[in-house]
């Protein structure tokens, strides 16, 4: 009897021991490992991951649009909030420790790396689809590099493009185990970055289809971005050509009233490229996202108000002048708020057809000669003005386009880039002022000694 007892105890003990070893292999329940990326759908999922990064608050969901506007002409936005990292941009006292440059930098480099991963796994995609996916990944990479070089480098218009530092160009797929040997990259020159941006976006424009489901980037999105790139470069022929390609595609129409261009559930007829949002997928509702800042409390924080100077750009009767609401910030400041970002969960227009008209018109005007597309600059500007009930101009100058862009594209992140490319002062600062260029994140410099900080930080 005793023996049985001992044996039983021993047996149970040994049994439990031998069984345990297997239990040390535990599989993650909400993540996948790289070896689980094996199909075309898996590679596409990586590409779709890039859309969510573009939607992120560190992408077009907020900061790529909001931060340039905070830095730009003070006749547009007033920042009345308590977040010092934002306020410092508004007062142009941001330092290298500020968390916002680090956020944008890390997010956009993640886009770059994901594109590189997708491109390295393109063989998993069905050959008939490989061009499209390649183009889409290049589109993402080109846009990410373009946004980075605009924010972290001196403008193209400042010249010295082969010596002014831009941002590092990453084209190789990331390693899954960290290897400092190839991680300590240096900043490429502004000119080299633009070369890569053009290469990516041109290839994307060639490979992408004319239309895609779910408001993904298509050929015209690539061309619209190319028009922005060429405008920054002062290459008006190509800028006008690209804008004209978008306009003459016939795919887009100006919506009949200005307000219909905003707060839409998905792309409006005039959106060439827009970020989609929903109640379940958005750039933020409490501390982040355009609506959080631009919508008054209690819905948003109401930290970004329309500056009193903004209305001086308009004549009475211009619908865009009164496209505002009254309200108060979470910090108790009452004021006016633009309605462009009034509602949560709505699509964020990144490039609208209206901008293409203004770009084509301005580029045609500045290049001179026969207008590309055959439409006179005056007609392009008036097309945009008439929609909002502004009186048609009788003649047009370059400055008319600058002001029209402020009227039409205010709070959409355009102003700073327009002023910089035209070498115009920004709130009394020279367009090349140190504070108009973001600092390379301090932690990035600390982990990568090959990076050179921007002057003034």
């Amino acid at each position: 009897m005793k023996k049985i007892k001992y044996t039983a105890i021993l047996f149970i003990t040994l049994f439990s021991l031998s069984n345990c070893n297997k239990k040390l292999d535990v599989v993650p329940q909400q993540n996948i490992t790289p070896d689980q990326i094996t199909t075309a759908d898996d590679v596409k999922a990586l590409l779709f991951g890039e859309y969510s990064l573009m939607q992120n608050a560190n992408g077009f969901g907020e900061r790529l649009i909001f931060i340039p506007d905070l830095l730009a002409d003070e006749k547009q936005v007033d920042f009345v909030g308590t977040f010092t990292n934002y306020k410092d941009f508004f007062t142009k006292t941001q330092d290298k420790q500020n968390s916002i440059p680090a956020g944008i930098w890390s997010n956009m480099y993640l886009v770059l790396n994901l594109s590189n991963t997708v491109l390295s796994k393109i063989s998993l995609i069905d050959p008939s689809e490989q061009d499209e996916i390649t183009g889409e990944a290049e589109f993402m990479r080109g846009v990410a590099l373009f946004e980075l070089v605009k924010l972290f480098g001196l403008p193209y218009s400042a010249g010295n493009i082969s010596t002014n530092p831009g941002v590092p160009i990453i084209l190789d797929p990331p390693k899954y185990v960290y290897d400092p040997a190839n991680a300590l990259v240096s900043r490429a020159s502004v000119g080299d970055v633009y070369v890569q941006v053009l290469k990516d976006l041109q290839d994307a424009a060639n490979k992408l289809p004319t239309s895609q489901d779910d408001n993904r980037a298509d050929q015209y999105a690539a061309k619209a971005f190319l028009s922005q790139v060429y405008m920054q470069m002062g290459d008006y022929v190509n800028a006008a050509t690209m804008a004209n390609d978008v306009i003459s595609s016939g795919k887009y129409n100006l919506v009949s009233t200005f307000n219909q261009a905003f707060n839409n559930v998905s792309n409006s007829q005039e959106d060439v490229f827009a970020i989609q949002q929903s109640a379940q997928s958005n750039a933020g509702t409490s501390d982040n996202g355009l609506t959080t800042f631009y919508s008054p409390a209690p819905q948003g924080r109401g930290d970004a108000q329309v500056d009193a100077g903004y209305k001086t750009f308009f004549e009475n009767g211009d619908f865009r002048k009164t496209y505002t609401q009254s309200g108060s910030s979470i910090g108790g400041f009452s004021g006016k708020y633009t309605l462009k970002w009034a509602d949560f969960y709505k699509a964020v227009p990144v490039i609208r057809l209206a901008e293409m008209y203004l770009t084509r018109g301005e580029a045609n005007l500045r290049k001179g000669g026969a207008p590309i597309g055959g439409i006179a600059p005056l007609d392009d500007i008036n097309k945009v003005r008439q929609r909002s009930g502004a009186t048609p101009l009788l003649g047009v100058t370059g400055n008319d386009f600058v002001e029209e862009r402020m009227r039409e594209l205010g709070f959409e992140g355009d102003r700073l880039w327009t002023l910089k490319r035209l070498q115009m002062d920004v709130s009394g600062l020279l367009y090349t002022d140190n504070k108009l260029v973001l600092p390379i994140p301090q932690r990035e410099i600390e982990v990568n000694s090959n990076l050179v900080q921007n002057p003034g930080y």
Binding site: L17, L24, P298, I330
Partner: protein, 1016 residues
């Protein structure tokens, strides 16, 4: 197997064969002096002879003694040794010896007598834990054990508590100790809403069920818990009954009333208006002097700014009341506190036992109101501890507790809706709108009293801890114990934010969080205690344990409600987020330990544990954690044996290695997570792989001295230790350009070195007794090497791990004062000279958040039935950063928040010598994070004072009760500190680098308690 058994049997026979001499029989009975219950298992020895017996279950013994007068020695673990001349029919009464060297202490997988222990173990008994008015039992340990630092995050209830034993020994992994309740390792990390402050799962445990808490401090004590012991181990033992003990029923009840221990001093309405006027003057003058707006003269500039401030702030927020006469003077700080917040606890327990069965059953109900509004904690539950001896050899039992708690929460400190931020509102803002009579909705920041009124956040936790055991005594010398236990925690948190509130976003929101954690643990081990005669004692333990934890977490968020009537997700019409996830970890361990002592003089102990965990990759899955220690009882040596002064003196030394694996799951793997974009589900990378990831190791050396002098009136312990942590599990930053931000790597080292002194003294004995306990622990932490990594934490002012510095030093701009000419804040520049340009200020180490030393000082007085206990705790050498300083002392630059009275010293104009810089929304100065808001955090606090009265025996007999004690006590009644707020605050309780940051954090409570304890 058979052979082993026969071998062991032989050894046992050899060692027990010695007793067979002729003489006379003596019999008697041994009882407990406390309640006259029989004591079984008492060793009875004839002094100087090798004749030994034990009392039976009725306490009776029978021993053969040689002829002639003999002395009998009665020894029993936990009782004072007694020597009596042998007489017939002896009635022996032993008294228990708490706080003496014969004390039994719980060690890993066993028990030991204090004087035989070679490791450093602190014991805190039930007396110190019972009825202490604290949200969780760990709070009661503060100041009770040298080297154990308890930091309560805030005066909010149910919140996480940071416990560090002998300093912080990790940077990126957890530095919290392992908690083991009756042999079962328990979950202590927060299981609730990750967007709010962490909560404390240990708060569910009824402190009055706890018999003792043993804190294993050095490696030799802790290494038996191997991979999980680097931060020390806290062993919690719950109460048990005793064999043949008359059933006792004990009732405890208390009520307490709490208020904030310390408040900030904010401006009143008149002071606020005056400061606003000063801001107008400063801004106007600055504008004019610098030619910013081109005013013709300074007065017109000031007038313009005055107009701005008065119309935008004073007129706007006073809602038509006459701010010039300070018609409204709202003390917003008062509104965030409950007045005399009530706590009520009742618990009943019954314990006792017969020959075969021992039991302890208890039930408790506790309801606490926090000092802060809307924060309330209820808990109730029961416990059954049952032990049964089925036969001489087989016994089994269970420790089972079932608890339910409900925590009504407020938002975290960094939310406008938290009551703590009410202090930012303006004193000129009326509480009620004078025109409508309704609660003022036009305050500077959204009035969180709306949130208090319309929001709710209720977390309900069910916790079951159960551990069953079976003990089989093969031979008197060999026992096998098998334990299987479960720690099951179920938590549901329902939060609701009404339409009227800032968190409700105008549409109303609700969310639910369901969190479940189930741990399965089994310990199986043999204990071998051969009888090797009088001089040699051996105790060996060998066994294994397996732990498996499965956690599930699900949350859903919805918004858009028709009205505030329905306070859960069914009232919402738009689900904005829903998610469920799960994780598992496992630990498989084998352990071996031997303790040997010779002649009670020389003590040696060695142990090794092998651990394997799912948290590490196959390359480095196993870790080995050895320890050895030795003790020398000098007082047993001839040269000290007869000393009149020294009663006990033991020198001990230990060395061992423990590990840390608290890094979360899957850290060695490269992982992708799911990304969410409308119609385009995707993957994004989240972590890099490190296949070589392995345990963080802490080697600790400890040298200690235990002593008792002057007839045991003064006892004490001195310890010196040095802990060296290597292979630190660090989150190493990598360039963002790689697509990643950091990865976990074993890198670098850190050390903790310190001294601990514990002294207990009986100053007066007799009718009037006076005892003093004093303990102090010094710890010096130093990060030795992190290979240039930048590792940051903190909240307002950055904190860093920097090689050569203690962990978590405050790192930033040093404030040097104010330029009397301009009112500019001056900072230490990179060139070593003062600069008014914040951007040019040098980043430097400004101080540390960990104290140099901490301790406690207790005096206990008793006279007849009256006892008085006075307990101080102290902390010294740490800094506290007021992260809210940029707002409450921002001089309006960062908002028009009400300011603390420090701003009354603000610079008023050229030539004003002050330390408070220029105020102004437009051109203020010194509003950024810097050492300006860093304060000395040292304090001494009257943690507890209690006065008890034991009702006289005559009354007891008349009422048929055993004892009754009535007491009144006070917590945190007095504090001395240089910090302007409460020094016991930390807005980010967990994390090793961040600490000592205050951000509108709720202070500790000052509490008066009245209670009654009755035993039947």
């Amino acid at each position: 197997m058979k052979r082993i058994i026969s071998l062991i049997t032989c050894m046992w026979l050899i060692t027990t064969v010695a007793w067979s001499q002729a003489g006379s029989d003596i019999s008697g009975r041994v009882t407990d002096s406390k309640d006259n219950s029989p004591l079984s298992g008492v060793t009875v020895t004839v002094k100087g002879k090798e004749i030994i017996t034990q009392t039976d279950k009725n306490g009776a013994f029978k021993i053969q003694i040689p002829d002639g007068p003999q002395i009998l020695v009665f020894t029993f673990i936990g009782y004072t040794e007694l020597e009596l001349p042998a007489t017939s029919n002896m009635q022996v009464s032993l008294s228990s010896t708490e706080k003496t060297l014969n004390e039994v202490i719980v060690v890993g997988y066993g028990k030991a007598v204090k004087k035989d222990v070679t490791g450093s173990i602190a014991k805190v008994g039930s007396k110190d834990i019972q009825n202490v008015q604290a949200p969780s039992f760990e709070s009661a340990l503060q100041g009770k054990a040298a080297g154990v630092v308890i930091e309560s995050g805030s005066g909010k209830l149910g919140q996480g508590i940071k416990v560090s034993i002998r300093g912080t020994s990790s940077i990126s992994a957890s530095s919290q100790p392992l908690y083991v309740i009756d042999g079962l390792p328990v979950i202590t990390s927060s299981q609730s809403d990750p967007n709010n402050d962490p909560t404390n799962p240990l708060a569910d445990i009824n402190p009055n069920d706890i018999e003792s808490v043993e804190i294993l401090k050095d490696a030799s004590a802790a290494a038996i818990y191997g991979a999980r012991a680097a931060n020390g181990v806290v062993l919690i033992t719950t109460k048990k009954g005793r064999n043949n003990q008359k059933t006792t029923i004990e009732v405890n009840a208390f009520n307490s009333w709490s208020n904030p221990a310390r408040k900030w001093k904010f401006l009143d309405a008149q002071q606020y208006v005056d400061l606003i006027e000063l801001a107008a003057k400063s801004d106007g003058t600055y504008d004019y002097n610098n030619g910013i707006s081109g005013y013709p003269d300074v007065n017109s500039a000031i007038a313009d700014y005055k107009d701005f401030y008065e119309s935008n702030i004073l007129d706007y927020f006073s809602l038509g009341t006459d701010w010039k006469k300070a018609a409204v003077n709202t003390d917003w700080q008062n509104l965030l506190y409950n007045k005399d917040a009530l706590t009520h606890q009742v618990d009943v327990s019954a314990y006792g036992g017969d020959e075969k069965t021992k039991f302890y059953v208890s039930g408790f109900y506790n309801k606490q109101d926090a000092i802060v509004i809307n924060n309330r904690f209820y808990r109730y539950g029961g416990r059954l501890n049952l032990d049964h001896a089925a036969s001489e050899k087989l016994s089994f039992g269970i420790n089972l507790s079932v608890d339910c708690s409900q925590l009504n929460r407020v938002s975290n400190d960094n939310a406008f809706s938290t009551p703590g931020q009410l202090v930012a509102q303006l004193p000129i803002s009326p509480l009620y709108d004078p025109t409508t009579g309704a609660l003022n909705s036009n305050t500077l920041y959204s009035n969180s009293l709306f949130d208090a009124q319309f929001n709710s956040d209720i977390q309900v936790t069910f916790r079951t801890l159960g551990n069953a055991y079976l003990n089989y005594q093969f031979f008197p010398s060999l026992a096998f114990r098998s334990e299987i236990g479960a720690d099951i925690l179920n938590l549901e948190e329902d939060a609701f934010q009404g339409k009227e509130t800032i968190d409700g976003g105008g549409v109303g929101k609700a969310n639910v969080i369901i969190s479940q954690s189930a741990s399965l643990n089994t310990n199986n081990y043999f204990t071998y205690t051969p009888n090797l005669g009088d001089k040699n004692k051996l105790n060996a333990v060998a066994g294994m344990s397996y732990l498996q934890n499965d956690s599930k977490f699900a949350s859903s968020f919805g918004e858009n409600i028709p009205s505030d009537a329905i306070k859960n997700l069914s009232g919402t019409t738009l689900i904005t987020f829903a998610n469920s996830s799960g994780s598992r970890y496992t630990f498989l361990s084998y352990f071996l330990r031997g303790n040997y002592s010779f002649d009670n003089k020389y003590l040696v102990s060695a142990s090794i544990r092998a651990d394997a965990s799912s948290r590490f990759g196959p390359n480095n899955r196993y870790g080995y954690f050895p320890a050895i220690s030795a003790g020398w009882v000098l007082s047993q040596e001839k040269f000290l044996q007869n000393s009149k002064v020294i009663n006990f003196l033991k020198l001990r030394a230990s060395w061992g290695q423990t590990g840390n694996a608290e890094i979360g799951e899957g850290s060695y793997l490269a992982l992708y997570g799911v990304s969410n974009y409308p119609n385009l589900p995707g993957y994004i990378p989240v972590s890099l792989s490190n296949p070589d990831l392995q345990w963080e190791k802490t080697k600790q050396t400890d040298i200690g001295l235990d002593f008792a002098i002057l007839h045991n009136r003064i006892t004490g312990e001195l310890d010196y230790y040095k802990k060296m942590t290597t292979d630190l599990l660090l989150n190493v930053n990598v360039p963002f350009t790689t697509g990643y931000s950091s990865y976990l790597k074993n890198l670098g080292s850190m050390e903790n070195e310190g001294y601990e002194i514990t002294l207990n003294s009986t100053n007066l004995d007799g009718v009037f007794r006076w005892n003093t306990n004093f303990n102090i622990g010094f710890n010096k932490n130093k990060v030795l090497d992190i290979q240039g990594q930048v590792i940051e934490g903190g909240f307002g002012l950055t904190q860093r791990a920097i090689a050569g510095q203690p962990i978590g030093v405050f790192y930033g701009q040093q404030f040097l004062g104010v330029d009397p000419q301009t009112g500019d804040a001056l900072y230490m520049g990179t060139d070593g000279k003062p600069t008014s340009d914040y951007g040019q200020a040098a980043l430097m180490v400004l101080g540390k958040s960990n104290p140099d030393f901490t301790g406690g000082f207790t005096n206990t007085f008793s006279y007849k039935g009256i006892d008085l206990n006075v307990f101080f705790t102290f902390v010294s050498g740490n800094k506290i950063y007021n992260a809210a300083g940029v707002y409450m002392n921002g001089g309006f630059y960062n908002g028009f928040d009400n300011q603390t009275t420090e701003e009354l010293n603000a610079w008023t104009g050229e030539g004003d010598v002050t330390n408070t810089p220029r105020v102004g929304y437009f051109y203020g100065s010194g509003y950024q994070n810097s050492s300006r808001f860093l304060y000395d955090g040292s304090y001494i606090r009257l943690k507890n004072v209690s006065l008890g009265y034991n009702l006289p025996k005559s009354l007891m007999d008349a009422w048929h009760i055993n004892s009754a004690r009535l007491y009144i006590s006070g917590t945190n009644l007095w504090t001395s500190t240089k910090y302007p707020g409460d020094p016991e605050v930390n807005t980010e309780t967990f994390g090793n680098i961040g600490g000592g940051q205050d951000f509108y954090t709720i202070p500790q409570a000052k509490t008066i308690t009245v209670g009654l304890n009755v035993k039947f």
